[in-house]
């Protein structure tokens, strides 16, 4: 039995040792906004925050989360970056977008007006095969926290 705090909700659940946080979020808690695109920590689609820090949930073992607060895209649905992404057209197929927004929201929380280089540095681990990068940069730049 493990305890998890996800988006302010406390959960108690059974999880086999070795399961990833991403799988538990998606399959046990039904939080399917977190996407798994590579399953080995290379693409960033599965990004969630632990105590506000972006981590790759597909290579985070659920038993290592402990008391840290998990924030997924479901906890950020009303974040102003969502509107900024849509207004700038910073998404195409949208499969990477929840992960992009989770990473970007951690960035602007730590640094409300990041420079272009700071945006590129923070976002470089979130791949987008559709190539929405210019619009992602625009969305984050345009949003004044």
């Amino acid at each position: 039995m493990i305890e998890l705090e996800v988006n302010g909700q406390r959960y108690e659940l059974e999880a086999q040792v070795g399961r990833s946080l991403a799988d538990v979020l998606r399959d046990d808690l039904g939080l399917i906004g977190t996407k798994v695109a590579c399953g080995e920590g290379h693409c960033g689609a599965c990004t969630v925050q632990l105590d506000g820090v972006p981590v790759l949930s597909c290579i985070t073992l659920v038993h290592t989360v402990g008391p840290r607060r998990v924030t997924t895209i479901e906890g950020l649905r009303d974040h102003p970056l969502v509107d900024a992404f849509v207004a700038a057209d910073a998404l195409q197929c949208g499969f990477c977008t929840p992960g992009q927004i989770v990473t970007a929201s951690a960035l602007v929380a730590a640094n409300p007006s990041p420079s272009k280089d700071e945006i590129r540095h923070a976002m470089a681990g979130n791949l987008c095969r559709c190539g929405t990068y210019p619009k992602i940069e625009e969305a984050i730049s345009s949003w004044q926290g």
Partner: protein, 753 residues
């Protein structure tokens, strides 16, 4: 009236002749330029759902009792399965069924490439399925793979017969030339790597079969599954509500769909078969490698006298042979031509269409060679292209339905004129330069394609059609088109798509065809609904129908009268106005194509071989633009994929065993946000006067086509080095610089080539 015609249908440059029933396109095109909604910047109508993680991708579908499949894929490039025993897998915990080579088509005991599917199991969890795959007892007999494309051509291992195309007299063209350039260009294998991997769920229910699948072609999957299972097509329902990218690789059911269907049948439970990322990098299709041995010849004034060459498509074990020679045949008005294409069949993973297949590769060769020719003739490369401008299609002498390439060149001029300034900004080891390349491609779409529009008592409209939005924003484009025609705000239009049981046939989303095929059908359906609304309004208000129109959410009359739309629709309570629309025919006897030019500014560190692209200006003619915002995103996305193709992406294979070495996203280098240059998009936005009721062509593919050539030409401008092989890694760049150095040292007149 419906009309039966025999017509050419084009997808990705492949033409087939077929009978088609078309409805006459009775609507006049809208005037040129941005309208109320069409042509404006409209954020995607499903953007919030996607951004918030609410959109339901195939990967997110959860069904009661859903089992997970895993696939045993051949680790060998060529082998025979001497024996296979599934029973240890079947006995494992949680495993519900297993299938092997004898059970279904698509599983093989003679794998001819690494990644060919041999067996599969379904289990309660994906982990259990994967573990069970390792328990399958297989005895392989490894066989010698054929991996070299030139060797395959020599041995006659061909996917298709070689194709020779000739016009004029190639030899005479060479003889008449003042300058001839010959070179060998090579392009590599690149992988689509859509972030949602290829996958489907098969669910036998209600006496039929429901397939949830990440696909670019709902109706193609429906037909293929009906054929596989023997079910009537209407017993097969195919659903794809949101889709995580395809780029050409998801046009068919693949091997995973038949596997899921059979395992679901055997277990009586729904089964998901989803590729892992590593399977995706091996078995999900690729852009095949090419070798292009090409020649260009011209008179001193730049007039091309001959173009030709030998093209080898290194295709892998299956797929199809795209037109790598197409740009050479179509882009310029050259009288004398001879191209030969060989389609090498190799023991390597299959080719699948990838965003402008053939033309991306062929444009790299052709447009670089043209710059080599320009240098030899000492003619400005843009001027050389203008002097060889094609006024009609030289393949079959048909007029173009529209061609704004000259306007693209005109708009490129100021960006091109920057090259002295850019060159002069070189400093230290960083040499800077500017290059350009032209683009030609298909993108006209075609019939059949249908849409329905229903208008309810609240005056809102719903577009219903079983097309798919693969991430390009076609859902939003349909809403804009219906809103424009009905004179209502775009947020009063909803779009239902992605389900073959809910709506009529729609085209596949490939070949830049969704908007030019589906857009006119949607407009036609909206116009049918509008006509009915005006007929009812005319009766209600005792006015002639011809004086009425729909504008700004109101019914307006020529004499200044205005009534809320709901005054009419509201009369109807639960009744609905139902509009029916179809895509009309393509213009007879004309060639419908897209055009463009891109200008690249690059910096090359001649000491390290690092290439940095600073800026790309993309100017394209795709007819009318529907969504200016989404269109700029398509252009940026195409260019960024093109930059990956140009600079970093390459599927590597062990040259002895044929095993794929780049299976994960740390080994296969996709572009990141840090790799993106400044991108300037400029779309000519003039409707094609001959094409449908919209005059809109497709935009998905054109922007990726000229990227590699524009960058390579800019590198030549910066450094004098000819890069003739993709990707332009540092190693490749340094090699080209060394060759350029060596060429400079050889006294003029003694060079061997």
């Amino acid at each position: 009236m419906a009309r039966l015609i025999k017509t050419e249908k084009e997808v990705e440059g492949r033409y087939t002749e077929q009978w088609i029933v078309v409805d006459e396109d009775a609507l006049d095109q809208w005037p040129e330029g941005p309208l109320e909604v069409v042509g404006r910047e409209v954020p995607r109508i499903d953007g919030h759902d996607r951004a918030r993680g609410l959109a339901g991708y195939t990967a997110d579908v959860r069904l009661p009792g859903l089992l997970q499949a895993a696939v045993l894929r051949s680790p060998h490039a060529r082998a025979r399965v001497k024996s296979i025993d599934l029973s240890p897998a079947l006995a494992a915990d949680g495993v519900r069924a297993a299938v092997g080579p004898d059970d279904i088509e698509g599983l093989t005991d003679e794998p001819a490439y690494m990644g060919a599917a041999v067996a599969a199991v379904a289990a309660d969890t994906f982990g259990a399925a994967r573990a069970a795959i390792d328990l399958i007892d297989v005895e392989w007999e490894e066989l010698e793979p054929l991996l070299d494309p030139d060797e395959a051509v020599k041995q006659g291992s061909l996917l298709d017969e070689s194709v020779t195309y000739e016009r004029g007299d190639f030899e005479r063209g060479l003889a008449e030339a003042d300058a001839v350039v010959e070179a060998e260009y090579r392009t590599q294998v690149v992988l689509h790597n859509s972030l949602e991997t290829h996958q489907s769920i098969a669910h036998w229910e209600d006496g039929g079969l429901t397939i949830y699948i990440s696909t670019q072609y709902i109706w193609g999957v429906r037909a293929a599954v009906a054929k596989q299972t023997g079910l009537p097509e209407d017993k097969v329902r195919v659903i794809c509500l949101a889709m995580g990218g395809g780029f050409g690789s998801k046009n068919s059911p693949g091997d995973y769909t038949p596997i899921a269907i059979e395992l679901a049948k055997r277990t009586g439970q729904p089964v998901r078969c989803a590729l892992t990322r590593r399977e995706e990098n091996v078995a999900a299709g690729n852009r095949n490698a090419t070798i292009q041995r090409i020649t260009a010849a011209a008179r001193a004034d730049g007039t091309l006298t001959a173009l030709g060459g030998e093209f080898v498509n290194a295709i892998g074990f299956s797929g199809w042979s795209s037109s790598t020679e197409g740009p050479m045949q179509m882009l310029y008005a050259c009288e004398n031509m001879r191209t030969v294409k060989h389609s090498a069949k190799l023991n390597l993973p299959p080719m699948a269409a990838f965003r402008a297949p053939g033309f991306v590769e062929g444009t790299f060769g052709l447009e670089c060679l043209l710059d080599e020719l320009a240098a030899k003739l000492d003619i400005d490369p843009l001027e050389l292209r203008r002097r060889n401008y094609a006024d009609s299609d030289r393949m079959d002498e048909r007029p173009f339905s529209s061609k704004q390439l000259a306007e693209c060149y005109r708009r490129a001029e100021p960006h091109w004129q920057r090259r002295n300034e850019v060159r002069a900004s070189s400093s230290g080891p960083w040499k800077r330069g500017v290059g350009l390349a032209s683009q030609i491609w298909y993108g006209g779409g075609g019939p059949p394609s249908y849409a329905w529009v229903r208008v309810g008592s609240n005056g809102h409209a719903q577009v219903v059609t079983a097309m798919q939005d693969i991430g390009t924003g076609s859902r939003t484009a349909m809403a804009q088109i219906a809103a424009e025609e009905l004179g209502i705000p775009v947020d009063h239009v909803h779009v239902s798509l992605g389900d073959s049981a809910r709506g009529p046939y729609a085209t596949l989303s490939a070949g830049s065809s969704t908007i030019p095929s589906m857009g006119p059908a949607t407009r036609s359906a909206a116009a049918d609904a509008k006509r009915q609304i005006l007929e009812i309004a005319a009766q209600r208000f005792n006015l002639e129908e011809r004086v009425l129109d729909l504008k700004g959410g109101k019914i307006v009359s020529a004499d200044g009268g205005a009534w809320e739309l709901t005054e009419i629709t509201g009369l109807l309570e639960d009744a609905q106005i139902l509009g029916n629309g179809a895509r009309g025919p393509n213009p007879t006897g004309m060639r419908v194509l897209t055009f463009g030019v891109q200008v690249a500014e690059v910096a090359v560190d001649v000491e390290t071989g690092e290439v940095r692209v600073d800026k790309i200006v993309a100017i394209h003619d795709v007819g009318r633009v529907i969504n200016a915002l989404g269109a700029s995103s398509q252009v940026e996305g195409g260019i960024i994929q093109g930059l990956g193709h140009t600079l970093s992406e390459e599927r590597l294979v062990d040259p002895h065993t044929g095993r794929v070495l780049t299976q994960s996203l740390d080994a296969y280098k996709l572009p990141t946000i840090a790799d993106v240059p400044e991108i300037v998009t400029d779309l000519v936005d003039v409707p094609d006067p001959h094409l449908t009721n919209l005059g809109a062509k497709g935009l998905g593919e054109p922007p990726i086509i000229p990227v590699a050539a524009a960058v390579a030409n800019a590198i030549r401008d910066a450094t004098g080095a000819d890069v003739r092989s993709l990707p332009i890694s540092r190693e490749e760049m340094l090699k080209a610089l060394r060759e350029a150095e060596a060429k400079k040292r050889v006294p003029v007149g003694t060079a061997s080539s």
